[in-house]
C-alpha cells in the first residue's frame, strides 16, 4: 500500500521565544489508514496537527494534503480535513444544530440538512439538536466537536486526544464511529497518550518525542519486533537451579524457585524452539506444573522504553 494522502517533509517549528516544538519531521500518512501518533505531554503532537490544519505557521518544511500544498493551495488542502481539537471549545449559547450547520458553511459547503441529521444521529446527538451547548455534559460537547468536524464530509479526520476525560461508554461509541468512518474511506489521524487506544485502533503507529518522530511502524510489526511475551509456569515442586538440559538465556526462576519464567518473542519459534518445544522438554525432564499464564508486553512498555532510550 503506497498511496499517501498527507506528506510532511522537513518540518521545523520554532515558536517565538525559541522553543523548538518540531525538528525535521518527515511523515507520510497513507490513504484510508488509522494512524496513531503517540507521545508524552509536550512532545509536539498538537503542534504537528496544528501545522497540517493551518493553525500554526511552520518555520520550515512542507505539508502536502492529497496533492495540494497546505499553504499555496490552502483551500483545497483544508476542505479535505476535519479537526477535532483537544480542548472542549464552543459557542456556549448556540444550539447543537446551528453550530454543526455553521461548521459546514464555514468549510464552503452548501447546506445539507440530511447530512447533518445523519452525523448527529451517528453520534447520538439527534435528541439534543435543539439544546444549547452550555447545557450539555462534557462527553456530549466532545461529540459535538466531532460532529462539527464531520459536517463538511472531510476525507481526513484529525482527532487530538479525543478520549481525554471521556467515560468508557462514550469512548467505545467513539471508536465505533471512527471505525465506521474508516470503512467509508476516511483517513484518521489520532493523537493519544492512552496507549491501549492506539493498540486497539491503529493500523500504524508513530512515536513522537521532543519534537522528533522517533519511530513509525505497522502496529503488528511493532508489537512483534519490540513486544516480548512471557510465559510463567507455576511449578509443582520448586527448583533450586534450572536443569542443564533446559538451560537457555530465555529461562529464569522466580518466586524462590516456584515459578519458571520463559521470555520469548517471534524469533524462538522460527529457530524451532519456542513454547511447544519447551513444554515437551519439561515433560521429558519430569518437571510438572500446576498452572501457566502468558503476558504480552503492551505498547505502553514499548513506548516507555523508546522514550526513555532517547531522552
Amino acid at each position: 500500500m503506497n498511496d499517501p494522502i498527507i506528506t510532511i517533509e522537513g518540518l521545523n517549528k520554532t515558536y517565538e521565544g525559541g522553543f523548538q516544538a518540531l525538528t525535521r519531521v518527515d511523515l507520510t500518512i497513507q490513504r484510508g489508514e488509522i494512524f496513531a501518533l503517540l507521545g508524552p505531554n509536550g512532545a509536539g503532537k498538537t503542534t504537528l496537527i496544528s501545522v497540517v490544519c493551518g493553525l500554526v505557521n511552520p518555520s520550515e518544511g512542507s505539508v502536502v494534503v492529497d496533492g495540494f500544498d497546505s499553504i499555496s493551495h490552502y483551500r483545497q488542502a483544508r476542505e479535505r480535513i476535519g479537526l477535532v481539537p483537544q480542548e472542549l471549545t464552543n459557542e456556549a449559547f448556540e444550539t447543537v444544530w446551528n453550530t454543526v450547520s455553521f461548521s459546514r458553511g464555514l468549510f464552503g459547503k452548501p447546506p445539507n440538512p440530511a447530512h447533518i441529521e445523519k452525523v448527529l444521529k451517528s453520534l447520538s446527538l439527534w435528541d439534543k439538536r435543539n439544546n444549547r451547548l452550555m447545557t450539555l455534559s462534557g462527553g456530549m460537547k466532545r461529540r459535538v466537536l466531532i460532529a462539527k468536524a464531520l459536517s463538511h464530509e472531510p476525507r481526513i479526520l484529525f482527532l487530538d486526544e479525543p478520549t481525554a476525560g471521556v467515560d468508557v461508554e462514550l469512548r467505545r461509541d467513539m471508536w465505533n464511529v471512527v471505525r465506521g468512518l474508516r470503512d467509508n474511506g476516511v483517513t484518521i489521524i489520532l493523537t493519544t497518550h492512552y496507549i491501549e487506544e492506539a493498540e486497539e485502533m491503529a493500523d500504524r503507529i508513530g512515536v513522537i518525542n521532543r519534537g522528533e518522530i522517533v519511530l513509525v511502524e505497522e502496529k503488528a510489526a511493532l508489537m512483534k519486533k519490540l513486544g516480548s511475551k512471557q510465559l510463567t509456569l507455576q511449578l509443582q515442586t520448586p527448583l533450586n537451579v534450572i536443569p542443564s538440559a533446559l538451560d537457555q538465556d530465555e529461562l529464569s526462576l522466580a518466586a524462590d524457585g516456584h515459578e519458571l519464567v520463559y521470555t520469548y518473542d517471534g524469533r524462538q519459534e522460527e529457530e524451532g524452539r519456542g513454547i511447544s518445544a519447551l513444554l515437551t522438554q519439561l515433560e521429558k525432564e519430569g518437571i510438572g506444573f500446576k498452572d501457566l499464564h502468558t503476558r504480552q508486553s503492551s505498547l505502553e512498555d514499548i513506548f516507555v522504553d523508546l522514550v526513555k532510550e532517547r531522552s
Binding site: L55, V56, R75, R78, L83, T89, F102, G105, L106, G108
Partner: protein
C-alpha cells in the same frame, strides 16, 4: 470568494445580535434618549439656535455618530475576541477560507448592526425633535462608511486584545473622549481660537462635521476634508488588517 463561509459567519454573528437584543439594540437607544432629554430638552431650551438649527436637532448627527463609533468598535471587537477567548477560533483558522472572507463576514455583520442601530436612533430622535435631512444619499454614505471603518478598527482591537480589560480600553479611553470633544454637542466655532486649532487634530471632528452637513448643510470643516478623513481611516484599517493576516499576529503562532 466562496459565499457559503461568509454567509455562515455573517448569520452566526447576526444570530448573536438577536440573542443579545436588549444589550445590543435596546440599551443604546435608551441611552441616546437620555441624551435627548438632558441635552435637548433640559439644557437645549436655554441654548439659542446654532446656525439656524435648534440645539436639540443640532446634536442628532453627533449623537448618532457617538453611538455609531462606540457600537461599531465594541460589536466588531467582541465578535472576533470571543472565539479567540473561548478557543473556538480554531475552526475559523482551519477552514478553507481567505482572510478577506473572514473580514467580510465579521466586519459586515458588525457594520450591519451599527447601521441598523444608527437608523433606529435616527427614528427615535425624530420623536423628540423636528428633523430634516438635506442630503440623504450623503447621509447614508457617511453612515455606512463610518460603520464599516470603525467595525474594521474594532476587528483590529479584538485581535489585539488579550483580555476583557483591553477590549474596553480603546472605546472607553479613546473613542468616547474623542467623540465628546469632537463637536458632537457643540459647534467648534463656540470654542476659543486656540482650542479650535487643537480640535482640528481630532479625526472625529471631521466625521461629525460631514455627517451634520448631510443633515443641515452646515459644517465646521469642508466636505472634502471629511470624506478624505474617513477614507484615510478606512485605508489605514484595511492596511493594518492585511498586515495582521500576513504575519498571523496574535492569531497564528
Amino acid at each position: 470568494m466562496n459565499l457559503y463561509p461568509v454567509r455562515a459567519i455573517y448569520m452566526a454573528e447576526m444570530a448573536r445580535t438577536r440573542r443579545t437584543l436588549l444589550q445590543s439594540i435596546v440599551s443604546p437607544v435608551i441611552s441616546t434618549s437620555l441624551y435627548f432629554v438632558v441635552f435637548g430638552a433640559a439644557i437645549g431650551s436655554r441654548i439659542s439656535e446654532i446656525d439656524g438649527v435648534s440645539y436639540g436637532a443640532f446634536i442628532v448627527p453627533g449623537l448618532i455618530m457617538l453611538m455609531l463609533l462606540t457600537q461599531s468598535v465594541s460589536n466588531a471587537s467582541f465578535g472576533i475576541f470571543f472565539p479567540k477567548f473561548s478557543g473556538s477560533i480554531y475552526e475559523i483558522l482551519s477552514a478553507p477560507i481567505s482572510y478577506l472572507e473572514i473580514v467580510v463576514g465579521y466586519v459586515g455583520a458588525a457594520a450591519s448592526k451599527s447601521i441598523l442601530l444608527g437608523l433606529i436612533i435616527l427614528a427615535t430622535s425624530s420623536l423628540f425633535v423636528p428633523l430634516e435631512i438635506a442630503h440623504p444619499i450623503w447621509m447614508l454614505t457617511f453612515l455606512v462608511l463610518t460603520a464599516v471603518t470603525f467595525s474594521l478598527l474594532g476587528f483590529i482591537i479584538g485581535i489585539w486584545a488579550d483580555g476583557f480589560d483591553k477590549l474596553q480600553l480603546v472605546p472607553l479611553l479613546v473613542i468616547t473622549p474623542l467623540t465628546f470633544l469632537g463637536g458632537s454637542f457643540y459647534s467648534i466655532d463656540m470654542l476659543p481660537p486656540f482650542w479650535q486649532t487643537v480640535t482640528l487634530a481630532n479625526p472625529v471632528v471631521y466625521l461629525v462635521s460631514g455627517f451634520r452637513w448631510s443633515f443641515y448643510g452646515i459644517s465646521d470643516v469642508s466636505l472634502g476634508a471629511s470624506v478624505a478623513m474617513i477614507l484615510l481611516f478606512l485605508i489605514a484599517s484595511l492596511a493594518t488588517i492585511a498586515w495582521i493576516f500576513r504575519t498571523g499576529y496574535r492569531l497564528k503562532p
